[in-house]
């Protein structure tokens, strides 16, 4: 009955790095989205999903890196 230790799925040491990268990508895509929104007048639903994902993961890693450990 060997008990093997459980660790987090992503190495904890990389949390700050990951949060910087994903947040950067998310913010860039958000900026693109808003600019596109202001200048065109067509349906762009799939773009919305894409950038929501990026910003979502970016903010999660930001929270974890700062010690909130949700």
């Amino acid at each position: 009955m060997a008990a093997k230790p459980i660790a987090s799925p992503i190495p904890v040491l990389m949390y700050p790095t990951l949060s910087v990268f994903t947040l950067a990508i998310g913010l860039v895509i958000t900026a693109i989205f808003f600019i596109y929104e202001a200048t065109s007048s067509r349906k762009n639903c799939s773009l919305g999903k894409e950038l929501a994902t990026a910003t979502g993961f970016g903010s999660l890693f930001l929270l974890l890196a700062s010690g909130v450990y949700v």
Binding site: M1, A2, A3, K4, P5, I6, A7, S8, P9, I10, V12, F33, F34, E37, A38, S41, N44, C45, G48, K49, L51, A52, T53, T55, G56, F57, S59, L60, L63, L64, G67, V68, Y69, V70
Partner: protein, 613 residues
């Protein structure tokens, strides 16, 4: 108060001696060694008992007794028996102990029954090691002291081991702290060696033999007692176990009477030896983000030293604690997950220490809350001692249904209780994904709202810009529609011309052809007149700025087509008049025909484009 319990017991013993006490299974204790350690605020008694079965039946349980005033304060009891013979035996196996109340035992004795691992047969011997920790038995005497006095406490015990079995030989040694010894009871066979008092050995004592002793000495230990300790252990599968401890500490030694003088406290020599300033906590290694604060804010008087086996935290409350004084604070630290969470047989379990990490701290009421991540099921707890369990729900970051909390409560906890407990539960890693999904859906909803907002018109008044723009756009569309209709009519007329040409080639009647051309010409002129105002409107309206060049193009092309068709018609009719051959006519109009078809195609395209708007 101090003498009454002793007197009670003496009377009781007389009563027992008078009444015939029941033969308590014929075990005989051949050798009893007792060591009492009172260097800290807890009295720790270690007994080594050699049990011999001198009766005829085999016995499977052993009765352990304490006088009631000790038994009420018993915090921790463990009984082990060493296996193997000779000096190399260090294999202690813990035996299960229960508090019982058998008949025939008087009320002022508390009884514990130990289940022996295998029945003790006639003539066999067994060695038992008993460790018992008592709180509140070191009574401060005098009970109120002033700042400059030393802290004297009193211990009452029995020089002879109180037991329901006969004892052949026994000895007692009390280890006192390295300080002043005020007085101690002097029975026969008493020796004082340094700071240890030895009583015994006493031989051949009957059952329930008891001779009270009192030792009065100075204690330098910190009598720190946590009245209430709430320990919250929060497990997060993203890699962290966060422990938060809320302490309410009181000094339970002799109370301070009179005033506290800071000048004396810090003078040379400093007075106030009964107070304590520091508390030492031993945290697991690799503890990080340690904080020490209370309701006012952060407390900066603390030091931390860490190595690979432990992390030592030395904290100093905001003021020194004298007898009767109390303070409260919070300590928190984070621990890496892989040191404490393990997987075995499909379940996960958390292996973490139960009590407070502070050394030498007695907790009167300990509440441990283990907060497991959302979505944990089948929760069960294994503890090496009895605790009271219950379950709650806690709502924390990114929670939908809340996190399950296992609440364990225990009273009268001593550092001997600081063993590991295990909390078992089931959790699938998919649930970890629900948290980023929640964040993602939050952002998604935000962006969808933005999209909807920019597309919807919330204006109420009729003179707002969007409403006017809408009206104009409608007008433009209507105009476009009319232009389209006219162009279609023109095209229909073109088709009529073509038809008349075909009639001509069939019948040769060019007069009717000419007449058809004339009528078509006049109709086309009318239509172009109608087009003019529409075109003017489109050019002036601002919202049609993108479309009007296209419409202009369309009209221009149509005109061109008209002219070409007319030219072709004229040529064909002339050819027929002059009676030239069909081939000549074909050649002449070949190039024109090409242009006509090309123009027609372009017009169709433009019409389609306008249709789509």
């Amino acid at each position: 108060m101090k003498q009454s319990s002793v007197v009670d017991l003496l009377l009781l013993l007389l009563a027992i001696a008078v009444l015939a006490s029941p033969a308590f299974s014929d075990l005989v204790l051949s050798k009893v060694e007792r060591r009492i350690d009172v260097t800290s605020q807890i009295a720790r008694v270690t007994k080594t008992l050699k049990v011999v079965n001198s009766g005829s039946e085999s016995v499977s349980e052993f009765t352990l007794t304490f006088p009631k005033f000790l038994g009420n304060n018993l915090a921790y009891l463990s009984v082990a028996h060493s296996e193997g013979k000779g000096k190399s035996k260090r294999n202690l196996v813990n035996l299960s102990v229960e508090a019982t109340n058998p008949k025939g035992i008087p009320d002022s004795i508390s009884v514990y029954s130990v289940a022996l691992p295998k029945a003790l047969n006639k003539g066999d011997t067994l060695t038992l090691e008993v460790v018992a920790a008592f709180t509140n038995v070191l009574q401060p005497f005098p009970e109120k002291i002033s700042q400059g006095d030393i802290h004297l406490v009193m211990l009452q015990e029995s020089a002879q081991y109180l037991s329901p079995y006969a004892v052949e030989s026994q000895s007692l040694s009390i280890k006192l702290p390295n300080a002043r010894i005020e007085s101690y009871t002097n029975l026969d066979n008493t020796k004082l060696q340094g700071s240890e008092i030895k009583y015994g050995p006493y031989k051949n004592l009957p059952q329930y033999s008891y001779s009270p002793i009192v030792v009065h000495f100075e204690s330098k230990a910190a009598f720190a007692v946590a009245e209430k300790l709430v320990r919250e252990i929060e497990v997060s599968h993203w890699g962290n176990v966060q422990v938060t401890e809320h302490y309410n500490i009181v000094h339970r030694g002799a109370q301070l009477k009179g005033e506290f003088s800071r000048l004396d406290f810090q003078g040379r020599p400093p007075s106030g030896v009964s107070a304590f300033r520091h508390l030492l906590a031993r945290l697991p290694p690799r503890a990080h983000s340690i904080y020490y604060r209370d309701d006012i804010g952060n407390i900066s008087t603390s030091q931390m030293q860490s190595d690979s086996k432990k992390t030592e935290l030395l904290i100093e409350p905001r003021f020194p604690l004298f007898g009767g004084w109390r303070t409260f604070f919070t300590i928190g630290y984070g621990l890496p997950l892989s040191d404490f969470l393990f997987a075995s047989e499909g379940k996960r379990f958390l292996n973490i220490s139960f009590g407070s990490p502070m050394i030498d701290l007695v907790t009167e009421k300990l509440i441990v809350q283990v907060v497991l991540p959302e979505g944990s099921k089948d929760i069960s707890v294994t503890t090496p001692f009895a605790v009271k369990q219950s379950q709650e729900i806690k709502y924390s970051h990114l929670d939908i249904v809340g996190r399950p909390v296992v609440v364990l409560e225990k009273n009268n906890v001593v550092p001997d209780h600081n063993q590991h407990i295990q909390v078992y539960y089931k959790f699938s890693n998919i649930n970890l994904l629900s948290e980023p999904l929640m964040l993602i859906s939050g952002f998604f909803v935000l962006f969808i709202t933005c999209i909807i907002y920019t597309r919807s018109d919330f204006s109420i008044s009729k003179s707002s810009a969007t409403y006017l723009a809408k009206l104009q756009w409608d007008e433009v569309l209507a105009t476009l529609q009319e232009v389209q209709n006219i162009i279609q009519k023109c095209l229909a007329l073109h088709d009529k011309l073509e038809a008349s040409l075909r009639d001509l080639s069939r019948t040769g009647d060019f007069q009717t052809c000419k007449a058809a051309r004339k009528s078509t010409d006049s109709l086309l002129k009318d239509l172009s007149k109608e087009l003019k105002p529409l075109m003017a409107f489109l050019q002036t309206s601002p919202s049609a700025s993108q479309i009007s060049p296209k419409v202009e193009e369309l009209i221009a092309k149509e005109k061109e087509l008209q002219e070409k068709l007319m030219a072709k018609h004229t040529t064909v009719v002339e050819g027929y008049e002059k009676k030239s051959s069909g081939r000549d006519i074909e050649n002449r109009i070949a190039s024109q025909q090409q242009k006509i078809t090309a123009l027609r195609q372009e017009i169709e395209d433009l019409l389609e484009f306008i249709d789509e708007i």
